[in-house]
């Protein structure tokens, strides 16, 4: 009861913050917009708001929410609090799949082929990591899972380098930019397309909060308490991976959101996934939105910085990497706080 009341406060606070941020953030950037002008409609400000800022804000929220929830699901299912789409090599696999598709069929970006290729890559990574974590009668060292993730990331990076080597310089440049991760889109079609994948998966995951709780105790205990592990676990893994893959397909690999956000929300509302997943999604959207706003707003303030903005993936990496090291140093991998 007490936990639920505390969680209610966090839900409300995060919801309000997200709402405010999604009104304020699109006004900030290289060109400051005025809310009054935007509301007036038919002004230059309104044009920029609708074509440049709004799609980007929506994309940041959808991608942030999806990555954060995917991270929370991976952490619960693999029973490892250092797991997230990035550290497990899922983002790497998805990137490889997407780039391979773009290299072979540059027109793929227009169709579902891109997220599908991205999902194939993500599925390969998840398959390998999951198989490792399932080794029967042998507790898998959390460090081993992460090593597997690093190995997969290296493997997929090599594949990506190969594709870049084989591409023409212009293509290579756009691939390198894409690999930095960004939500700079100029049409709501892309966030819409990603939401088409992310929203149903989010629904599936949110409905399983109770089962996720039991699955953190291990497969055997979950089964003994009544969870149909053989059906629930693959469903949840697939949902998390489809979300992550669809996001990576259009935004590129954006690191650490899936790692950072579940940790922070767990500190706020506790480990109960029934209370955790919704604030996790909200906080993920909020964090990526704020990071992207920083990525848009900071460079113009620094005189020596070329270009008007940074890819948001660089911002999240600069923020997330020290956090990841901190978790490693605490030596509590595989356990919550």
């Amino acid at each position: 009861m007490k936990e639920r009341r505390g969680a209610c406060v966090v839900w409300t606070a995060l919801g309000t913050a997200l709402l405010l941020a999604s009104i304020v953030c699109p006004l900030l950037g290289a060109t400051k917009l005025s809310l009054a002008q935007v509301m007036a409609g038919n002004t230059a400000d309104a044009q920029i708001f609708l074509t440049a800022r709004l799609p980007r804000v929506l994309f940041a929220i959808v991608a942030g929410a999806g990555l954060a929830v995917a991270g929370a699901v991976y952490q619960a299912l693999l029973r490892n609090d250092l797991a997230d789409p990035y550290t497990l090599g899922v983002s790497g696999g998805a990137s490889f799949g997407a780039l391979l598709m773009l290299h072979l069929m540059p027109a793929a970006a227009l169709f579902f082929a891109l997220p599908l290729a991205s999902f194939a890559g993500a599925a390969a990574a998840v398959g390998i990591v999951y198989t490792l974590s399932q080794a029967r009668r042998r507790r898998v060292d959390p460090a081993k899972l992460l090593l597997a993730g690093i190995t997969l990331n290296l493997l997929f990076s090599s594949g990506i380098l190969l594709i870049q080597y084989l591409s023409d310089p212009y293509q290579t440049f756009s691939m390198v930019r894409w690999m930095m991760g960004g939500v700079d889109v100029s049409t709501v079609r892309i966030p819409g397309m990603v939401a088409l994948f992310v929203v149903p998966c989010l629904m599936v995951v949110l409905a399983q909060g109770k089962r996720l709780n039991l699955l953190t105790l291990g497969d055997m205990t979950a089964a003994h308490l009544g969870v149909d592990v053989r059906r629930t676990k693959p469903t949840l893994l697939a949902a998390a991976s489809i979300m992550a893959a669809a996001i990576v397909a259009y935004a590129g690999p954006i690191g650490f959101i899936g790692l950072l956000v579940p940790h922070i929300t767990r500190r706020l509302v506790g480990a109960d996934h029934r209370l955790l997943l919704v604030p996790c999604a909200m906080a993920g959207g909020l964090l990526l939105l704020v990071c992207d706003t920083l990525a848009r707003s900071l460079p113009p303030l620094i005189p020596t910085m070329p270009g008007s903005e940074l890819p948001v993936g660089i911002v999240t990496a600069f923020m997330g990497a020290p956090f990841f090291l901190l978790l490693l140093l605490r030596g509590k991998s595989g356990r919550g706080d």
Binding site: N213, L214, T216, T221, A223, H224, L225, G270, R274
Partner: protein, 254 residues
């Protein structure tokens, strides 16, 4: 009344060596059945076959006359509670939350949060294992014995007619060993539950179990009352160690 019935049950982990080899066994409700035997003799495997976690390779396990593998996970959970040797959670739940997990099957599909009734059942279960003052503690900060008692409370909160326990006394001190065995006796005699317990301590087994099953390398070496099973020649052959067996105790020969 027969609760579990095993007919020609075999199981192997690797498809070659049989961990359980053609076992026939009847386990009654209203009694404590102790499973004893050396390390690797198949005790835990047998328990996990009864709980439905492992699927039999040959033969059949029947629960109240029904083939166990035909029951859904949720149905099984409403009949059988399982206390594992240990459990390592990866996130920090409170002791009460951990015990409330036992109410999952009872609420399956209806609501996502437990009712006040569930809370009362969990609190009663905690009281039975003398853990009521630990309710709001973090489960991952408990000692091994406290954790074991929490797992027993969770199984009690499931309110099932059968209770399977895998070496529940291994981490308990003498006081809590006696309390647990007395609690199990009450559950068997008063509530007519079917209790199956894997034990290493033969004296505890002799004192509290109504029926003993001695396993050796996947076979049943002996079964029956403590008096029938705990005989010097049987035990020495199975455990391969010289023993002193009296009416009161089984000891290793110094």
């Amino acid at each position: 009344m027969t609760f579990f019935e095993l007919r020609g049950v075999s199981f192997s982990y690797d498809g070659r060596r049989l961990a359980i080899d053609g076992i026939d066994l009847q386990i009654e409700a209203g009694r404590i059945t102790g499973i004893i035997g050396p390390n690797g003799s198949g005790k835990s495997t047998l328990l996990q076959l009864l709980s439905g976690w492992l699927d039999v390779e040959r033969g059949q396990v029947a629960l109240g006359g029904q083939n166990l593998c035909r029951l859904s996970r949720a149905e099984l959970t409403r009949h059988v509670a399982f206390v594992p040797q240990r459990e390592e959670g990866c996130f920090s739940f409170s002791v009460r939350e951990s015990v409330l997990f036992g109410r999952y099957a009872a609420n399956e599909g209806y609501r996502s949060f437990e009712t006040e009734e569930d809370g009362r059942i969990a609190d009663d279960a905690l009281k039975l294992v003398e853990m009521e003052s630990f309710a709001s503690r973090a489960a991952d900060r408990l000692s091994a014995g406290e954790r074991q008692r929490m797992l027993i409370a969770r199984a009690l909160a499931q309110q099932t007619p059968a209770l399977l326990l895998d070496e529940p006394t291994a981490t308990l001190d003498l006081h809590h060993q006696r309390n647990l065995m007395r609690l199990l006796t009450t559950l068997a005699k008063v509530e007519l539950k079917c209790i199956v317990i894997v034990l290493h301590d033969l004296n505890l087994a002799a004192n509290y179990c109504d029926q003993l099953v001695l396993l050796d390398d996947g076979h049943i070496a002996a079964q029956g009352s403590a008096r029938d099973v705990l005989k010097k020649e049987i035990l020495e052959e199975v455990y391969r160690v010289p023993l002193v067996v009296t009416d009161q105790a089984v000891m290793i020969e110094p």
